[in-house]
């Protein structure tokens, strides 16, 4: 990682050498993006438009969301030119 070279400390009370804070934003989700591998043409639109930047390349075949942090906004499904992504209610995955 390219470390900043200007300040040792990011601010008077925030130390960038510590591990970064991270919330389980995946918990917020009410709908989950499910990618249809066959429909996906690997254009990457879902990746560039995902605000959280959690759409990850799986090899060079398709994209999948990191569900630990995906907030379930649905932008990826809206922007996919092939309608390869469906937003499925989280209720479906409760066992």
């Amino acid at each position: 990682m390219s470390k900043n070279t200007y300040f040792k400390h990011e601010g008077p009370w925030s130390d960038a050498n510590d591990p970064l804070m991270c919330s389980d934003t995946g918990d917020w989700r009410t709908k989950r993006p499910i990618v249809d591998k066959d429909k996906c043409i690997f254009c990457g639109f879902c990746q560039i438009y995902c605000p959280v930047q959690v759409m990850e390349m799986v090899g060079d075949s398709h994209f999948e969301a990191d569900l630990g942090f995906c907030k379930g906004c649905g932008i990826c499904a809206q922007e996919c030119p092939k309608q390869a992504i469906t937003m499925v209610s989280e209720g479906e995955f409760v066992s």
Binding site: M1, S14, F45, C50, K71, G74
Partner: protein
């Protein structure tokens, strides 16, 4: 049509040459335009930029909480009244110390258009060599969705509500980017999140042009929470803003305006307003006022972009 399994990977991915310095789970609302923008900037411009900004939606994440941080960028938190003045101090210090860097003053429209406008205008006049990026969500979202100078005509906010004696904002929005371009700074541009390639080009150009002085980028970044639309529509709202010329994309070098995207057969502004709740109460008359405003601003831009070629100066006296 032959169904090819693999299309071409979006060229925008090539612009993202650097790592995302933010931690994965940060506290922005789902579908936040600001989050898309703030993660995009260092991926394109590099992680070694120094950011400064003010209390706003961006501050809780950029500043950090207690003694920890959400990202590994250098960030200097300051006040809305003096954002550009602080950036001036930073950039002058680096110049004196002989450190070559990029200072990015990153603020919302509340700071840029209203509270911190004076010192931004001053920094533009003095031509301070840093980049000012205004993310425009058309109001003070972080403090509870109050109207700002860039809130458009008719929009409902908590200070311009739809209630007895009030039908949304009864004033027109200001065109901040045009104001800054008219300061004849080396580079001013508008951009939005539906056209990320265009945004990346403008970010890189600003990084290059800042050696000549002040650069200003006005980025339209919608807010699902404050405007009342489905979070999935953030990018689509940006796209519609461009397609209806509600938010035209252009750039200006030393005040010379050039459209970076011309829209053939623009849709009426209703098309942009349709998914957004803050415009729901507007009637045909109000929509016509907004349309007139949009047309007027586009004419102004169009006129300014041909100014030099067409303008005939009066003959000089002997």
């Amino acid at each position: 049509m032959s169904e090819k399994k693999k299309g071409k990977l979006s060229p925008v991915i090539d612009y993202k040459k650097h790592e995302d310095p933010f931690s994965k789970g940060v506290a922005f609302c789902p579908g936040c335009g600001l989050e898309l923008l703030i993660r995009f900037i260092p991926q394109v411009m590099g992680n070694d930029i120094v950011m400064t900004g003010t209390p706003s939606c961006s501050a809780p994440v950029l500043l950090g909480q207690n003694n920890q941080s959400w990202h590994s960028l250098s960030y200097f938190g300051t006040l809305m009244t003096g954002a550009a003045a602080n950036a001036t101090g930073l950039v002058r210090y680096y110049n004196r110390a002989g450190i070559d860097n990029t200072v990015v003053c990153f603020n919302g429209d509340g700071t840029a258009a209203d509270i911190g406008f004076g010192n931004m205008s001053g920094a533009a006049e003095r031509n301070e060599p840093f980049i000012y990026i205004c993310y425009d969500n058309e109001g003070y979202m972080n403090t509870g969705i109050q109207k700002s100078g860039t809130t458009p005509y008719g929009a409902s906010t908590t200070t311009t509500p739809v209630a007895k004696g009030s039908r949304g904002k009864n004033l027109r929005r200001m065109n901040l980017a045009l104001k800054m371009a008219m300061s004849k700074i080396p580079y001013a541009a508008t951009a939005t999140l539906s056209d990320l390639g265009d945004l990346a080009k403008k970010l890189l150009k600003a990084k290059e042009m800042k050696k000549n002085g002040f650069c200003f980028l006005h980025v339209f970044a919608p807010c699902p929470t404050g405007w009342g639309y489905d979070p999935a529509m953030t990018v689509e709202v940006c796209r519609r803003a461009v397609k209806t010329n509600y938010f035209p994309l252009w750039e200006a070098e030393n005040g010379k305006i050039r459209m970076t995207k011309t829209v053939n057969k623009p849709k009426p502004v209703e098309h942009y307003m349709e998914p957004i709740k803050k415009f729901k109460h507007l009637d045909d008359n109000d929509r016509a006022i907004l349309q007139e405003d949009v047309d007027y601003e586009l004419c102004m831009l169009g006129g300014l972009s041909i100014l030099e070629k067409e303008c005939v100066l009066p003959e000089a006296a002997d």
